[in-house]
Subunit: 503 residues, 2 copies
C-alpha cells in the first residue's frame, strides 16, 4: 500500500526552483530544504511487518587511510529471517540498498520483498544509508550535520562500500558465503542498487533498480524532461486542467500584488495564519502537482500523504468541475494535501520532515546533480531555463561547497550506456513507469539480454516495489510477475554456476 | 629491453621476511624499506622514446566532500601522439595505468605500447600514480610523506579515480570522446588496469593486465605460492643448485657465529666496509634469487640491474661449477648484482631507490596485503609460517596504521572469480609467466570468452610488455601476437558497436 522513498530529489528541485524564481532570493535560500507538507494529521499507515534491528560497526572512510578514516560508526540494518531457507541450502538474501531516509520507513514500504520472501525462501536485509536515520557518524547529528568537514563523508561511494562491507561480514557470520545476494531499491535506492551490481558484482548477483534515474545526471539528461513528463501527465487527463494550472501562476502573482490580494489567496486556499507570499503559495501548489504526478498510482496509496487511486485524474476532475480557477486549484491541492479530510487549514511553510531525509540536500549539493528545474514554454509550470549556476550559488551559500557535477558520471558512467554496457555487466532490472517524471532519466531500453528495461506506460514512481493490492491492474501484476521470473532465472543460473542444487 | 616495474612488492616482502626471521627485530624494522642493490654503477639503458610531459590539476579526494577533499595537486602524465590517427577517425588511445614509481621509468619500459602504436595509430598516454614521481600532493614529499594524515590519500581507489578523471578530461580536450581507450600495465600497474576496466568500463574499452596478482591478496591466495615458484625455478635448473642454496642459510649463520666469521663472510662475498650481520647477508642473497626468478627473461635485460639471458640458469651454473659453497653463491649473486662487472665490492645495506618507489610500503601497510613470506619445508628459503600479525606489528610501528586486509577483496573481489566474472565484464587480458613468483596470484584460466588468460610456462614477470628483441623465442613472439590480435578484435567490436568506420 505504501511506496518507496522518492521525495527528496524533488525537495531539492523545489528549492532550486524557488531559488531561481523568487524575487526574494535570500529568503528562499533559507527555505532550501523546504518540504511543504500540509497538516500533521496524516500518519504512515504501516504494514505489519516483522524485522530485527541490528547494528554494524562501519568504517567512516573506506577510500583513504588517514587516522580520521579509521573512525567507525554504528550502521543500522533490519533483518527478517522468517522465510529464509538458510545457509545450508544457500538460500538467497535480498538486500535493500537504503536511500536517503529512515530505513524502517523503507522497510515498511517495500512490499515486493516481503511478499516474495516466502517464494524465494529469502532472507531480507534492509541497510540504512550513512547519515540518515540512526546511522549517524561522529556520535550524532549535532556534530555530523554541523558543517562540510563532517558532512563530507556523506557520499554514494562510501554508502556502496558500506553495503559491500556489511553484506560480506553478515554472510560470513551466517556461514552463508554461498548464498546469492540480490540487491534492490527505488529512486536513489534504485540508483544505488544498479551501481552496486555494476561495481560489486562479487557481492551482488543481481539488482532490481526501480525508477532509478541513473541517466538523469548533469551532462546526460535533458533538464526539461522532468517537467515535460508532468505536463504530459496532466494534459493527458484534460487539456482544460493543463491550461488552468498553466495560467494560474501569473494569476496568483497578479492577485498577490493587489491590496489584500494575499489575504484573498489565503482564503481561497484555506492557508493557516502566518507570513506567506505568492512564491510560497506557488511552491505549495507545484509540490502537490509534482508529487501527485510521481505517485499517480492505480490504487489508493499512502506514502507521504494519503491519496486516492489515479490522483492526477482526481486533481483534474476537481479543476474541471469548477468554473473558478482558485476553487479548482484548491480542490486539486486537497487531493494531495487533504484526501483524509482532516486538515482545517494548510500550513504551507511548514518544512518539517518526518522521515529523516534532511541531508539529501548535501548530496544534491555535491555529487547528485539531477537537473530537473528546466521548463519549456509549454510546460505546466512557468517557463524557465535550467541554470547549473543557480545550484552552485545556492550550495556555496548553504554549505560553502561547490558541486562536482562531472564526478558522478565519471565514476558511474551513464553516457552512451547502451554501447558501454552492451557487452559488459549483467543481471539488472531497470523498472520505469512513464508517468513518473523521473523516468526521463531512466534506462528505458534493454541494454543486453540480462540488463533488462521494464517500462510501464501507465506506471508511476517505483510502483512495482509497492505492496500489492487486490485492485492492482493487470499490467502491474504482469510487471511484478516478470520481475519475479527474471530473478528466478538469475538464481537458477547462479546455482548452476556454483554447482549448488537448486532450491 | 627493459621490463616494467615489479620491485616494491618484493621490497616489502623482503622487509617482512627480515622482520620475521631476524633476532634483532628492531633493527630490521628500521630496514623495512630495504632495497639491497649493489654498486651504483649500473644505470638504466634507456630506449630512445619520445613523449611530451604534461600536468593535470587533480582532485585530492574523489570520494568525500569535506574541505580538504577539494585540494588539488599536479598529476604528471606523458603523451606521445606521433602515430595517433586523430580524433576524426576515433583512433585509439593506449593508457598506461602508472604504478608505484616514476612514470618516465615505466614509459621507458613499456616497449609493447611504443612498438604497436604505429600499427594501431594509437595515442600513448602514461599517467603517473599519485604520491610517486612528480605527482605529489600537499606541495611536495616533505609534507606528503610526513605521516598518515597526508599519506592517507595514497590509495588504489583514489588512483583509479584519478585515471578516470584525467582520461575523460583529456579526451574532451582532444575532442576524442569517441576514441576507444585501452588501458594496460604490469604488476601493480596490471592490477590497476584490470580493476580499471572492471570499475570504469565507460572509460576503458579493454585492459591488458600483465603479471597482475589480483588473486594474490590476503584471504584468497596461498602465502606459500610465491616462494614455491622460486623454489621450483631453481630446482628445475639444477637439483644441486637448489640444495646448495637451501643449505646456505644455516651455513651462513654457523660461520657468522664463529670468531671472525663475519669477516670471512665479508671476504667471501666481497662486501664493502661497514656494519653487517648474517641477516643482512641473507637478505642480500635472497633479494638476488627472488629478483632473478622474477626477471628470468629469455634475453639479456636491464631493469634494475643488467642481467644475462636466462639468469636463473646462469646462477645455477655458477653454483654448480664451484665446489665451495660460498664461492658458488658469490658467483650466483654476481649474476644479479654485478653482471656488468663494474662493482668492486657490494654495499649490501644501501637502501637507496632510484625509481621513486618509497611509498609502496605505505600501500603494503594499508590495502595491498599480498602475503608472500610463507616458506614450506622444502622451500629454497628457510621454512617459515606466514603470519599476518607480523605485518600488522611492523605497520603499526612504522606508520601507526593498521592494515585493512579485507578491504581490497571487498572492493575489487577476487574470491570465486571464475564464477563471479563468468557472466560479468569483458575485454581483459591476464598475462602470466609461470616462472614469475607473482603468477601464483594471477588469473591463469580464462574466465569467459573475453576475459582471457594467457599463460607462458617459460615466461617471467610481464615479459610480454617488454621491448621486443631479435632473440625473442617463438613462444614470446606468439604471446605478443595473440595480445595484438585480441586488442584488434576489441577495437573492431568497438567501432562496430559505435557505428564508426573501422580504421
Amino acid at each position: 500500500m505504501v511506496a518507496l522513498k522518492f521525495t527528496l530529489p524533488w525537495i531539492l528541485l523545489l528549492s532550486i526552483f524557488s531559488y531561481t524564481n523568487s524575487t526574494t532570493t535570500t529568503k528562499s535560500i533559507h527555505h532550501f530544504p523546504t518540504q511543504t507538507l500540509s497538516s500533521k494529521s496524516h500518519s504512515l499507515k504501516e504494514q505489519s511487518i516483522q524485522y530485527k534491528t541490528k547494528y554494524f560497526t562501519q568504517t567512516l572512510d573506506h577510500f583513504n587511510f588517514n587516522p580520521q578514516s579509521y573512525q567507525t560508526f554504528q550502521q543500522r540494518y533490519l533483518i527478517n529471517d522468517e522465510n529464509w531457507g538458510g545457509a545450508d541450502t544457500a538460500a538467497p538474501i535480498f538486500v535493500y540498498t537504503g536511500n536517503e531516509g529512515d530505513i524502517e520507513w523503507f522497510a515498511q514500504n517495500t512490499g515486493f520483498f516481503f511478499e516474495n520472501a516466502p517464494h524465494f525462501k529469502a532472507l531480507l536485509v534492509f541497510i540504512e544509508h550513512r547519515f540518515y536515520g540512526e546511522s549517524i557518524p561522529f556520535g550524532g547529528k549535532g556534530v555530523a550535520y554541523k558543517n562540510s568537514s563532517t558532512l563530507g563523508y556523506l557520499s554514494s561511494t562510501q554508502a556502496l562500500a558500506d553495503y559491500a562491507t556489511l553484506i560480506i561480514d553478515l554472510k560470513k557470520n551466517l556461514s552463508a558465503e554461498s548464498s546469492p545476494v540480490i540487491v534492490g531499491g527505488g529512486s536513489y535506492g534504485g540508483m544505488l542498487a544498479a551501481w552496486f551490481r555494476l561495481k560489486y558484482p562479487h557481492v551482488a548477483a543481481g539488482a532490481i533498480a526501480s525508477s532509478s534515474p541513473i541517466l538523469g545526471l548533469e551532462g546526460i539528461a535533458s533538464p526539461y524532461s522532468f517537467n515535460n513528463i508532468i505536463t504530459n501527465d496532466f494534459k493527458a487527463e484534460s487539456e482544460n486542467c493543463y491550461r488552468v494550472i498553466k495560467s494560474s501562476w501569473n494569476e496568483i502573482d497578479r492577485v498577490a500584488k493587489k491590496p489584500s490580494g494575499i489575504e484573498k489567496l489565503r482564503r481561497s486556499f484555506k492557508i493557516c495564519d502566518g507570513d506567506i507570499d505568492a512564491n510560497a503559495i506557488k511552491i505549495w501548489l507545484e509540490t502537490a502537482f509534482v508529487y501527485t504526478a510521481m505517485t499517480d498510482y492505480p490504487t489508493p496509496s499512502n506514502f507521504l500523504n494519503p491519496m486516492p487511486a489515479y490522483p492526477v485524474k482526481q486533481m483534474c476532475k476537481a479543476i474541471d468541475d469548477q468554473n473558478d480557477m482558485f476553487a479548482g486549484l484548491y480542490g486539486a491541492a486537497s487531493v494531495y494535501y487533504n484526501y483524509s479530510g482532516t486538515a482545517k487549514c494548510f500550513d504551507i511553510v511548514d518544512d518539517s520532515d518526518p522521515h529523516g531525509m534532511d541531508e539529501w540536500q548535501w548530496q544534491a549539493c555535491t555529487e547528485m546533480i539531477l537537473p530537473t528545474s528546466g521548463n519549456k514554454n509549454d510546460s505546466i509550470f512557468p517557463a524557465s531555463k535550467y541554470r547549473y549556476e543557480d545550484r552552485v550559488e545556492a550550495c556555496e551559500y548553504i554549505y560553502g561547497v561547490k558541486p562536482r557535477p562531472h564526478w558522478t558520471t565519471t565514476h558511474y558512467g551513464g553516457e552512451n550506456i547502451e554501447r558501454v554496457l552492451k557487452r559488459f555487466g549483467s543481471n539488472i532490472i531497470f523498472f520505469n513507469g512513464l508517468r513518473d517524471p523521473w523516468s526521463g532519466g531512466g534506462v528505458l531500453k534493454s541494454l543486453s539480454k540480462t540488463l533488462v528495461a521494464i517500462v510501464a506506460p501507465r506506471g508511476a514512481h517505483h510502483v512495482d516495489l509497492r505492496f500489492s493490492t487486490k485492485e492492482d491492474p493487470e499490467w502491474l501484476q504482469k510487471v511484478r510477475k516478470r520481475e519475479i521470473q527474471i530473478i528466478t532465472n538469475w538464481l537458477k543460473q547462479y546455482y548452476k554456476d556454483w554447482s549448488i542444487p537448486s532450491l
